[in-house]
Symmetry: D2
Subunit: 287 residues, 4 copies
């Protein structure tokens, strides 16, 4: 790495994790946060059902893709701007910040008008033109790790943002490629814990994309909480079987509710808590 290694993302001695504000009220990097919603925004009804479920179970922010980076040009590419409006309205109604993926710098003006957090997806982690554009705006960025990216490359992509002037950056581990293709990706939870120990930015985990199987989302969410992640990205859909994108990895509202309870309990067991939960003393947490 030498002279060209990451500098500004690194945690100094005794330096605390940076708090990054999503919207007006949510702080990421302190208590544990859960950002949830559908993979792709599909319709008013779908967005409302998913958003209501996220809110009802204590989720802290809404996620949903309007512009979808699909491997094939023949797959559903997202609703585009109208989809963003649906998510924006749900966010306003439920008083939850919204997170959505930006695919190109040209979308910035419109995205800045609607979303609270700009997500950079795995496929664009090294789209340096996009990173430079995002480094110049005053809006938090959620930077997913590329599925073919080393930890150093991931941190240096974040360094582009900080070096350019935007220090409101949150990282998200979402699984990497390995020779074993039984699951969609290989969740690199130890890599996440390593990054937490070296970097001052908050680090989230996305067990939905990492595993691609709804039955593994909750075990990996619990594991991420136990391992020290700052929060989660979870896909929720009222009818996974009919979802237009990534249905097999989406949780139903019921499963999401169980996940939230389980994660709270694990956090308390490790001396932490879910954002919005009562202080630990009140629940008798350890450590």
């Amino acid at each position: 790495m030498a002279a060209s290694g990451p500098v500004k993302v690194m945690r100094g001695p005794h330096e605390a994790t940076r708090k990054v504000r999503f919207g007006h009220a949510l702080e990421v990097g302190g208590d544990f946060v859960v950002i949830a919603g559908p993979c792709a925004l599909e319709s008013q009804d779908q967005v409302d059902q998913a958003s209501n479920a996220v809110k009802a179970s204590g989720g802290h922010a809404l996620r949903g893709g309007a512009f979808k980076p699909r491997t094939s040009p023949y797959s559903f590419q997202g609703l585009g701007e109208p989809g963003l409006m649906l998510l924006s309205e749900a966010g306003r109604r439920l008083r939850l910040p919204i997170v959505s993926e930006i695919m190109d710098a040209a979308q910035l003006p419109m995205m800045l008008d609607t979303v609270d957090v700009l997500q950079v997806g795995a496929r664009n982690m090294q789209n340096f033109a996009l990173l430079r554009a995002l480094s110049k705006v005053e809006r938090p960025v959620l930077l997913k790790r590329g599925f073919g990216a080393t930890i150093d490359e991931w941190l240096l992509a974040a360094e582009y943002l900080l070096d350019g002037g935007n220090d409101q950056v949150v990282l998200c581990e979402r699984g990497i490629r390995s020779f074993d293709t039984t699951l969609r990706n290989t969740l690199d939870l130890a890599g996440m814990a390593y990054v937490k120990s070296k970097v001052k930015l908050p680090v989230l985990v996305d067990p939905s994309h990492a595993t691609g199987m709804s039955g593994l989302v909750t075990p990996m969410a619990l594991a991420a909480a136990a391992a020290g992640a700052d929060g989660l990205l979870i896909e929720v859909h009222h009818s996974p079987a009919t979802a237009m994108c990534d249905g097999p990895q989406a949780l139903t509202p019921e499963a999401f509710d169980q996940l939230m309870r389980g994660v709270s309990a694990v956090l308390n067991a490790t001396g932490r808590r879910m954002a919005g939960d009562k202080p630990l003393a009140a629940v008798g947490g350890a450590r």
Copy 2:
């Protein structure tokens, strides 16, 4: 996989995890177990200090290598049979079953005289001559996943044991190879959870070899407990800095003690418990 896929290791509908007995008293596959000790057996003093520490903190079995499969012929190759005697004596003194790696079928008679559990290491996972020999003995086998092995290959290696007549098999995930070499290996915790959901054999996790960094062992141990593993393999050394093998990943007795407390709390938070702990009702665990 078709006709040559795994059959006998698979979990039937509503079938519980198989209980595998280690020595006289320990059951693996029910309450959570922790097998700990030094990577390589080095001396009477080292074995005693590590073993006492494991016992004092509530560990359930001792591990230690007498025959070490080292990448280089110029690295310490283990004490051999005298090392095994040291471990055996420690086990008898502390009333803990002992686990040690077998590298070749020719070692079987001696190993059967001394160890309670025969470990097959990652590099020998597809040493089919060894697996066939082990399938004919009445002694439990702890089968580690090869770092280059798919989940199917791992299960089929276990199938060799069951098909040959030995159904006392415990699996252990210890990290796989990926393009990211920041850490020693990439711990495939989601793969472990997937295997748990498909297979009736108990599944352990070895966060020491998976990460190669002592600072990541406890976070990954907590994660493994949260994700549903049946137990852990942990390397403990009273002086990691002077260990003859894999010192950077060994926990001190103090760190191991903290790990045990943390894991207990996480287990309770998910409605499970550490073997030997009081029943959950007594500690007010959730679920």
Copy 3:
């Protein structure tokens, strides 16, 4: 892949490889072509020396990066537009088409004014906004495989271009990630041969980025020619030791000249020939 797999890039029964024209005179997809030049454009002198060397040894097109997608924001990022001018002048002077990487759709107008072939780099292979923009222009695209991309993902990225209306597409294998990091990447030559057998687009090989070591560039160039590739991308620099980017993998003019002779001989031995070489009969080629 099912309904969303690649269609338009696939080779029909008895369909020949598509010929793609680079500039006025060069055809890719028939006789073997070599595109060479410096990794990054640095100065008038450097561009001239490399370009003259490429021309003198029979290279068919010039390559050089003006906008460099560097992993670290602290590495040399390229000369930008002035660099492009240097390459453009060299191309005009030597009557060779020029190839340069485009990093963002916003650069399109300027690039269309200067370069004959628009290169999409490995890090942008799934930058779908860029691919869509490129699908609408009448200019050939050289699409490199992402180092974390499967063959299917690569072909589907090309499918975005063809589906959008641009069928002047040339593929380039440049090495993928694997667990072995001895070399910069793992050149997937068998993957190249597989793609050649399935797809109608020309496929090039870039042994410079794939290996990262100048001593391996010629062996892999010969191998690529023997395995049926349609051409090569080669980095040439008059002083690799002082290059501002990727010096260790650059060939000197002398080494490049040897490569060209060696490749010609291997092509003739397999019944093919280097573009511009005399017809096979004249050199007594085999098959």
Copy 4:
């Protein structure tokens, strides 16, 4: 690597490739050699047809597995000793040395009675008990690279043999695991060329196992010859469709004959020759 890195396998300055004798007459490490035959030995008729074809097309040694390390216990495991006898008789009849895989040290006495070269398969590359046993015999060893093994690990496995006293060692690259599973493995031809440049042992390439597709075997054989390999391992079967093991990657006698001609031409084009061919001057080879 430091103190425990490979030493005895490394090539000294100006040191030539070691010549390793297979049987009485064949030398590996000088002119190019081709070792071919069926994956698994099945019957007298099958062994004879394959062996005759190998001899007729100029192959230099026979290969065939009697003890097959199969992923599943339910796959055909090989004929065992009777299979070895069939291969041995074919070798004697055709005056070709024979190569077969040894899976366990216990098979050594029998193998020493029948085979000229002891092959260690990919799955046993780090079976150190086997390597130590083989280091004590006077018989050449063909050491395949493990599909999950780094180059360093491969060289250190060879170092076990040399350090133990057996310097008659030939290496064989046969493909490694990567995230792309389109083909059976990813042939690491650049890794082969790197090893050739560092190590004094001969290095062969096995394109049959590396690709798993007969249509890619010849392109990769030509590529291996062009890249400087010392020889090939090729699977040949008179009826691939009915082969009991790995039929899809086997060449018919006709395809094998074409491969041999093509490889000869490529060797000549690079100033080398096939063992047994006329001297280069007679065929007008280049360089």
